[in-house]
């Protein structure tokens, strides 16, 4: 798949209009994972608009976003950065051998209290 086609697919599945962004940075200012985002929420929006899919697909921020929707809530233009991040992560994990969680890594970190909700949500987010 070429880069232009990939960009269009990611824009489509994000369900948000990246062209509406006015670069105010409120989304990144509100992001609770900001310091651990190598690409910040507002940069996701701009980079997708510009078709920089390779950089997006290789970042580590897609694993640190909580999907808490704080960025979406604060956007004065109705853009949804969290949906762009999800579109990038989904595009990455859907490719072969690109799961973000390996089954064998889970048992050592499971404790007595771990809720099913955590296992289910992490698998849904990180794996295809």
């Amino acid at each position: 798949m070429d880069k232009t086609e990939m960009t269009e697919i990611m824009k489509e599945i994000s369900g948000t209009d990246v062209r509406k962004c006015m670069k105010c940075g409120k989304c990144s200012g509100r992001c609770p994972a900001y310091k651990d985002m190598d690409i910040k929420p507002h940069q996701f929006v701009t980079m997708l608009e510009k078709g920089k899919v390779e950089e997006l697909l290789n970042c580590s921020a897609i694993w640190n976003c909580f999907s808490c929707m704080a960025c979406v809530e604060r956007c004065p233009r109705g853009v949804a950065p969290a949906q762009v991040i999800e579109a990038v992560r989904t595009t990455f994990t859907r490719a072969q051998n690109n799961n973000g969680l390996a089954a064998e890594d889970i048992p050592p970190i499971v404790d007595e209290l771990i809720p099913q909700q955590l296992l289910v949500s992490a698998y849904r987010k990180y794996n295809k």
Binding site: E12, I13, S14, G15, P32, A33, D36, W63, N64, F66, S67, C68, M69, A70, V72, E73, A80, A82, Q83, E86, A87, T90, G100, L101, I106, I109, D111, L113, I114, P115, Q116, Q117, L118, L119, V120, S121, A122, R124, K125, Y126
Partner: protein, 258 residues
């Protein structure tokens, strides 16, 4: 009053108390919670990608069941509420998702978002009323409690329409109704780190400590939540800064049915 109830996977396993206290309290308040027949796990996170259809179907099945059984669907776990309410919004407003989900499910009558999804807290506020609850309190809390909203009940507010996402008040009103003193603290609507704790525990540890320290500084003796994952992060990753409990436990305690 009888209402269709969706418990979800965690309330049958690690969060049994959240469910058990909710049922006892509902009984004391004259509400009959009738479990959705053959419900399936909602998936715990709302799939945001526009071409995700299969992952939304279990929510649609529960919604369709409720449509034919009273028209309302009661949720308790914050994650179930977030997923089911957002999927319901898709079924109402997103033609592509609605058509594909209906084509897949082939229901006798297509589902178009008719069911009203209500969280247990909304049921307490709107169907029972906090004034009525206050009248039935036999053991007032008499302590300072911090409401921890987290993100799933509040955002995105355009769809969830639960409360003011920046300055919510429903859980504080609830605490007052059961005889406690609500403590307002800055981090009450901040995310605990959610599912990231399975991949990278550093982030949820920092988040949970910030939230609990914020509540402690304002004088809270404990915090309450409706979310099993928030409770886990606060308890395990928050390292005992403050006790965290389910809001239903305090309700059952105040109503004398714990």
């Amino acid at each position: 009053m009888k209402i269709c109830y969706y418990p979800g996977c965690t309330l049958k396993t690690k969060a049994k108390e959240l469910d058990a206290y909710a049922r006892k309290a509902a009984e004391a308040l004259g509400v009959e919670m009738e479990e959705v027949k053959d419900w399936q796990c909602c998936g715990a996170v709302y799939p945001m990608a526009k071409n995700e259809i299969a992952t939304k179907l279990s929510a649609v099945r529960a919604l369709d069941y409720a449509k034919h059984n009273g028209g309302k669907l009661l949720t308790l776990c914050s994650a179930c509420h977030n997923v089911i309410k957002r999927v319901n919004d898709d079924m109402k407003n997103d033609e592509n998702i609605r058509t594909k989900a209906n084509n897949y499910l082939a229901l006798e009558e297509s589902y178009n978002g008719e069911t009203q999804v209500i969280h247990y807290l909304e049921m307490l506020k709107n169907e029972v009323s906090f004034d009525e609850i206050a009248k039935k309190v036999v053991k007032p809390l008499n302590r300072k409690v911090g409401a921890y909203y987290g993100c799933l009940l509040l955002r995105p507010s355009g769809v969830l329409a639960f409360d003011n996402p920046e300055n919510p008040s429903i859980i504080e009103d609830f605490i007052r109704a059961i005889g406690g003193t609500p403590v307002i603290y800055p981090f009450r609507n901040e995310c605990c780190g959610a599912y990231v704790s399975l991949k990278n525990q550093t982030l949820p540890k920092e988040r949970s400590a910030k939230i609990l320290n914020s509540a402690k500084e304002k004088g809270a003796e404990e915090v309450i939540t409706a979310c099993p994952l928030c409770l886990y992060n606060l308890q395990v990753n928050g390292a005992g800064i403050l006790p965290a409990r389910y809001f239903t436990e305090l309700l059952a305690e105040a109503l004398g049915v714990k």
